[in-house]
């Protein structure tokens, strides 16, 4: 189960279009910082801030490869968010299925009573 603080970090991280674009870019494979920053018309320190938020949420990790640092995407926190959303979806859909069925049964009973 995803903790609420972690969930907040992940939702905050994916709430900004630039950070979602960075995730989209890194989903194609690891990249160096300057390659990550290249498509964006923002200052490098703004990209650094976005990457820090993504890192805090566990959505990216940095690894040293020789003299280079490669940034890569981690999908697990997004899967956990999807699971959290799915729990609500399942709960309410199951309840509403039962609620709808109650009225269908009621209508069926009413019709069969009318036939008698």
């Amino acid at each position: 189960m995803l903790g609420m603080d972690r969930l907040t970090d992940v939702l905050t991280a994916i709430s900004h279009p630039t950070r979602r674009a960075i995730i989209g870019q890194l989903a194609n494979g690891p990249a160096r910082f300057l390659d990550v920053a290249k498509p964006f018309d923002t200052a490098l320190n703004a990209v650094t801030k976005h990457l820090k938020l993504l890192e805090r949420a566990g959505l990216i990790e940095r690894r040293k490869h020789g003299r280079e640092v490669l940034i890569s995407f981690r999908a697990e926190p997004l899967r956990q968010v999807a699971g959290w959303v799915h729990e609500y979806e399942r709960f309410w859909n199951e309840r509403l299925d039962q609620f709808e069925q109650y009225f269908k049964n009621k209508r069926r009973r009413r019709r069969s009573d009318e036939k008698l």
């Binding site: 907040t8 309840r95 509403l96 039962q98 609620f99 109650y102 009225f103 269908k104």
Partner: protein, 95 residues
């Protein structure tokens, strides 16, 4: 969410084969299967404006206050649990 005023909204829509007044009554009657109150392990429910509820589900307590109760329109209430971290979330049911 903590330290944030951003909202996260879940919306579920369902067509119920019954008149709105009948659906309203059933939604607030804990004996009717499918409405949220029916799932409670323990329930205190006072569905009127400024009426309160206590809803225990899977060992987790939920509390709230009704802010709109319109028979042919909307039921709106606040919703607080350990998962809302002290903040009031809201639930709206429109007919």
């Amino acid at each position: 969410m903590k330290n944030s005023k951003k909202t996260l909204e879940f919306k579920f829509e369902r067509t119920i084969p019954a008149p709105p007044g009948e659906v309203f009554d059933a939604w607030l009657d804990p004996k009717i299967p499918g409405n949220p109150w029916n799932a409670a392990e323990k329930l205190v429910l006072d569905p009127k404006i400024d009426g309160l509820f206590y809803w225990l589900l899977k060992g987790t307590s939920h509390y709230g206050r009704f802010t709109e109760v319109e028979r042919l329109g909307r039921i709106h209430h606040t919703w607080v649990s350990q998962n809302t971290l002290g903040e009031e979330s809201t639930v709206t049911r429109d007919l």
